[in-house]
Each structure stands twice: as structure tokens, then as C-alpha cells.
Symmetry: C2
Amino acid sequence: MLFMYNEEIASLFTNLEIRVGDRVKVTSADGTFEGILMPRAEVGRNDIIVIKRTDGYNMGIRYAKGIKIEKVSGTKGAFSFPKVEMSHDRSLKTINMLYTGGTIGSKIDYVTGGVYMLTKPEELLAEVPELHGIANMEISNLMSIASEDMTYKEWIRIAQEAAAVLNKGSEGIVITHGTDTMHYTAAALSFMLEGVNAPVVLTGAQRSSDRGSSDAFSNLICSSHIATKSNIAEVGICMHSTSSDGQNIFIRGTKARKMHTSRRDAFRPINSVPICKVDTKGKIEYTSDYRHVGKGSKKVKALTGFEPKVALVKVHPNSNPDIIDYYIGMGYKGIVIEGTGLGHVPTSPSIKELSWIGQIRKAVDSGIIVGVTSQCLYGRVHENVYRNLRLLRGTGAIFCEDMMPEVAYVKLGFLLGNYNKKKAQEMLNVNIAGEITQRTRFDEFEVE
Amino acid sequence: MLFMYNEEIASLFTNLEIRVGDRVKVTSADGTFEGILMPRAEVGRNDIIVIKRTDGYNMGIRYAKGIKIEKVSGTKGAFSFPKVEMSHDRSLKTINMLYTGGTIGSKIDYVTGGVYMLTKPEELLAEVPELHGIANMEISNLMSIASEDMTYKEWIRIAQEAAAVLNKGSEGIVITHGTDTMHYTAAALSFMLEGVNAPVVLTGAQRSSDRGSSDAFSNLICSSHIATKSNIAEVGICMHSTSSDGQNIFIRGTKARKMHTSRRDAFRPINSVPICKVDTKGKIEYTSDYRHVGKGSKKVKALTGFEPKVALVKVHPNSNPDIIDYYIGMGYKGIVIEGTGLGHVPTSPSIKELSWIGQIRKAVDSGIIVGVTSQCLYGRVHENVYRNLRLLRGTGAIFCEDMMPEVAYVKLGFLLGNYNKKKAQEMLNVNIAGEITQRTRFDEFEVE
């Protein structure tokens, strides 16, 4: 099959000597449309002819008998988008873009029909002329990887670059990133960037930038507005507020989580509200307290230690606590338990070997720091309400308040990488970057 | 300290020879209140005197200088609630209550101030006189355990009893259960009860039944209405719709998840909408398709095999795939991966030993069934959109559509416990009990 189109369309193209990248004119019952022939998307219907119009949007035309296709002009060699140089406008602020890859920097592969990753961020910016009116953009092309492939090495590289540009006087940073693990990176940067003195905005896209449905452009625009106009001295994630374009939310880096596999509004604040809303016109509405950009020129420090020997362990009915022996044997330094409800682990009276209490005590006694969180995600763990919770507390495990499991994991790796064990243990439940919110009376289990 | 009250109050009680369970009269600036002296809740303020009024509600009175406390009458021996025998009303349906324990069957311990579990479900029912007007209730006192301690052995016990009473002609079942793992049990019963022919309603409480803020009563009442009046032939969870009393939702057993550690409306439908809403007056509003109670007397079968050697493994940045070797070595038969986004596992080009692809292939080659789900929880996994997903698919791992990780875990254990490997593999992605919903065009990654 040619470009993943169905056989009938593919053979038509072959007969007409039309290739992807050629300018074509398509006349259907709905009218006549001209544009550059695009490859079909990798999944979905294979009888939709896709052309990119001059306004940059893709449109699909259902193939039907009687449809007429003409070649207007060909492309020379491989097709590529026109390059646009960004000019420097002295009336605008200068912000920095750290490019790391991800769907926002992806396009459809013209040969295989798959998605491939851009290596030049300029190609992405060239498609968002609106950015020219918002800020001058200096680009650091750090890497070009999918976010599921991010490790602490990449977190450290990004933190170092962010600290470097901030210390050179950058007034704001936009980091483009794959969405899958963007919230892990956001938490890591929140902890690693000590004394951050400007908005550090992570953004990405749920659909690649050459699809009509892409959220890449409005996410880039909204993120640039926050990096330019806001006085938020925090790391956060700026993604769609709803599934429609137009309004984004900016969520604290330690309180954001990807909560949907494909929706544009996948990132939600957990145990928190967004710091602000922002629209594509640049209107910012603050909805929460935040750390303000201070006066003076404080230096930003990147604390780039990270201990990879930390495990995230989810308990559930029938889960076998022997896994703790594995982690002790492998020399792990930290374990974050994703408990149930208020932070329970099974004590399983009916199957004694499935009780976790003794094993967690063993881990603590072996020198491992054990943190307790909840797989509910929303809400706060509690070490007192039930007897089983008090048993767990008795092992020396630390109940991590309203931290998400993923954030507690990143924090424990950060603490063990930068401090000694005693200090790491003390700091696990001390708020560093908004990861712990204060208890309110609603968190108490009072008799009313 | 007496009953966990503060020292000043405790010594006042001692001087007046007042014990918990005595009828007391308290005169404060706000008025005079009479009721049975209750122990203070285990956590929260220790200067609130709690009395149970004749209407059954607890009230708290802040202790302050000048407050007057009198003993009206004592209790003989240990205090206990009056027992009420449930009478049989021929004009009402008869439903079954399977009692398993949990917070809904818990009270504050009069000696330690902690929470203890009732062993007699009648004590719970005695406090909900409204139930007498809804149905005759036959009680099976199965167990009295906290839900974090549930294992497949308890699931099987509950499934057997449910099948037994349904096959004796029960027209509906209410199962009282702790909330922490109620959704795991709901999924297990959904798979285990083949040919379920009446509503099977799990319910519980986020606050114990002797607290004024308890959701126990309205959850029991709403659940009994569904068990009595609805024609839903499915297993589901009936808990609060919002944080206020009055309206509950009934969520399919394979689509419910506890999403908050403490709120009354903690249970949410994931990738689904509730089957119905129900209020305490018995008004049922259907909001989704469901399996209807059929005519005739079909037998219900309890499929009670369960394979405990199934692991639920969450991947994240820096997660080490060597854990797969551990599970292979321990003879595991199934692994459910909680991937990121659309179902990714790290391929980590910068730290090669952190790539999961080879390890998952090894698991599949060792005969382990590997299912792929998403830690986003909401949305559907996809095996095609990105190259890394196609690599994962190439290992032989099965992408589990829109099943939650926990549900895929329970299903895989169920399948491996009741069928041979080939059949289990085939059925993992076949809808059995509403755990997989059909794709819509919004799930396709079409070029628009």
C-alpha cells in the first residue's frame, strides 16, 4: 500500500504519478480543494485523502467514485516545510525554549506513515507565527526523545540547562516535552531547581503538530504567554483546560498528573487547583497562591543528584510482599508504597504469607527509607485512623501526606541523591516545592 | 486519659462518676443537650464532648469553662445498642445481605477510642429503621475483615454465597464491604458470577456508622433500593454521588475505582458513566445501558478459580526491568503492565539496561501472559500510534483496550484460574462483564 492509503487510492496516485508532497487539486461533490498531499494517518480510515492547505491545516476528503484528482505541481526531492528565521524584536521579552522531543515535536513520516520525531525545533516554531508577537525565543536543542524514554540523566540535563539560562538572565522558560512522563519531569525539575526565579513551563501535545486536531500550537502559545507575562517563580505544566482549544491551565509541577491516554485536557491538578488559567490571547487569571518572582538577582542552583535505586511498589489484594526481599537484595535505598485508601497495606489474616507489615519492617531495619502513599491519588494518607495503619506506622514507614505516589518516588530519589540518609528521611515530609499541602479541618476524622 | 478526652474533661467525668454509655445532660452557652456519652473520635480535637441523641445522631459540644455536666442515668454493665429483630413483611421483597466487615461495620472502641469491627451485622441494621420499609433482609454473616485484608479466598467465599442465595431465588443482594479494595472485589465478582440474574450491590462507608458524618446509612438505604427495585442483572458499587447525603450512583463493578482517600463520593466510574442514580427515597434514574434481569430461572454459576501468581507492575522513568526476571523465577503466570500514556514502557536509549522491551519479550517467551494498561487510568491504550508501541506489541504483549490496570489484574488472575493458557490469552481482550467498552471514532487517531 502506498502511504497507507487503500489500494484503490494508491493505484490511482500511481497512475497519475502523484507522490506525497506534491501539490494536488481534488474535486469532490463538496467542492474543489487544493493543497499538499499528505500521507494518511497511521491508524483510522484508509479512504480519506489528506491535504495540507495553505493555512497550515490538514483536511480530509473522503474518497468516492467520481472524485477527480489532479497534480498541480511536484516537489523536488524530499518534501520539507519552509524554514522561517525568528527575528529579534527589541520591544519583546526574550525567553528560552528547551526542546526535548515528544509528540509536540513529531510529524508523520512521509515514507512509512508512522510518526517520526523532528530533530530541529525551528521546524516546529516555523509553524506558529503567533509566537513572533509574544517573545523573542532562544532555543536550546537538548535532545529529541519520546517522554517514555526519559530517565534521571535527561532530567539532570534539562535542570542544568534551565539553571544556566536563568542565571544568564532568562525571564522565562518553555520546555517542550512528551506528555507520557511530563509530570515526572515536572516534579523532578521542581525539586532540582533551587531558587527558581522565573516561570518554568513544561508543555507538549497529545496530537502531533501536522494534524488538524493538534493541540501543539495553542499549548505553545499559552505556555509562551505564561513564560513572558506571569510572575510565577515555579515549575509547572501548561496544557489544555478542556478538550477545546483556547484556554489552558498552569498546574504546579508537583501536583500535575496525566489522567487520560489521549484527551487534550489529560493533565489534571491532583489535591490542588491550577495556579492560573491562560488563553491564547495572553489573558492570565490567577486561581491559587504561588511563589512570586522576587526582586534582585538570586542565583538558581541545580541540585542534580539522583538515586536510581528507589522502587515504587503498588499493593493490592493477593500482592506478595516477598518482593521486598528482592529490593533489599538489590541494594535499594528507598521504597514508595502505593497503599490502598488511607495508606493501607494488606495484613491478610487468611493468607499469612501475604501480610506486608513484617516485610516493611524488614526493609526499614535494612536501612531503606519507606514512604507510604495512596493509589486513590486524590486525598491524604493517615497513620492513625485504623489499627492496621498504626501497625504500618510502627514499622518506621513514613506517611507522605497528600503527595502523589509518583511525586513521592521522584522526591525520594532526589533526596537520597543529594543528602545523607538522615536528612533525606527528615525532608521526605517537609514541603519543598508545593508537593505537600497543609491539612485542613476537613482532613481530620472528627466526630461532628 | 479517659476515653481519649483531654485531661481536664477526663478528670471531670471521673469526679462525677460519669462513664461512656451513661445518659448525660450538658448545659453550655448554646443550650442544654441530653444523650448518651460517646467516646471521643480517635483523631481530631480532644476537647469536644460527644453525645448520641435520641434521633441517633452524634453531636459534639465544645468544652469550655462554665459548662455543666450532669449524669441522668447510668448503664448497667457494658453499654450496647438496643437490638432490633427484623420482622418479615409479606408485602415486601426479600433480599440478601452478605456482611463482610469494613468501616460500615465498624464502631469506635469504648475502651481504647480506636475503631473496632462489629461481628454482628444485626447491630448495623438495628440503626437503620428505614430498611424495614424497603425489603425483608436475610443476613449472611460471612466474615468481619478490613478490605485491605481481602484476598482471592474471600472473593471466592463471597461469590459462592452470592451464587447460592441467587439460586435459592434471592431477588437482590447487598454486600457490605470495606471501601479500600471494594473495586477489586467488585471486579472479581463481576467475572466470577456467571449468569448473574439480579442486582448484586456492593456498598460501604467512608466514616464508621456511629459518627454523625457517617455515610453508612444512606449507602445502605440506596443500595437496598437498587437491590429491591431495579432490574439490573449486574455486579456494581453503590456509593455517594457527591459529598452530600441523598443521592448515590451505581457503578458497574468493572468500571469503578476508589479515587479519594476520605471523601464520601470517592468511587468514580472510569471510562464509563454510572448505570443509574438512586436517592434515599428510592427514585432510580437510569443513565446507561445495562444487562436486564431476564425472564425464567437461569442458574448462576460461581467460577471460583483464581491464579495468585499474577503481578501488577508499574513502569516509570528509571524503573528497572530486571524485576521481570524475578517474576519469571518465581513462576508467575501473568503480568499486567501499568504503562505510561497509550501503554508505553521505557526503551531508554540513554541507559540501555533500563529498556523494558527485551525483558517483556523474555516474559512472553517464558510462557507468561503480559497485558498492557495505562497508569493514566482514563482512556484507552493503543498498540499502533508510535514506534515504541509497535515494538512492545511485537513482544507478544496484549494491549488491554480501556481496562483499568486493577481490573486487568483481577481478570487475568480469574482467567488463568479457570481456563487453560490459550483460552485465557484469547479472552483477555474479550468483553466478559463490561470491562471493555467499544471503541468510538474518538478513540481513533484520525487525521481530521
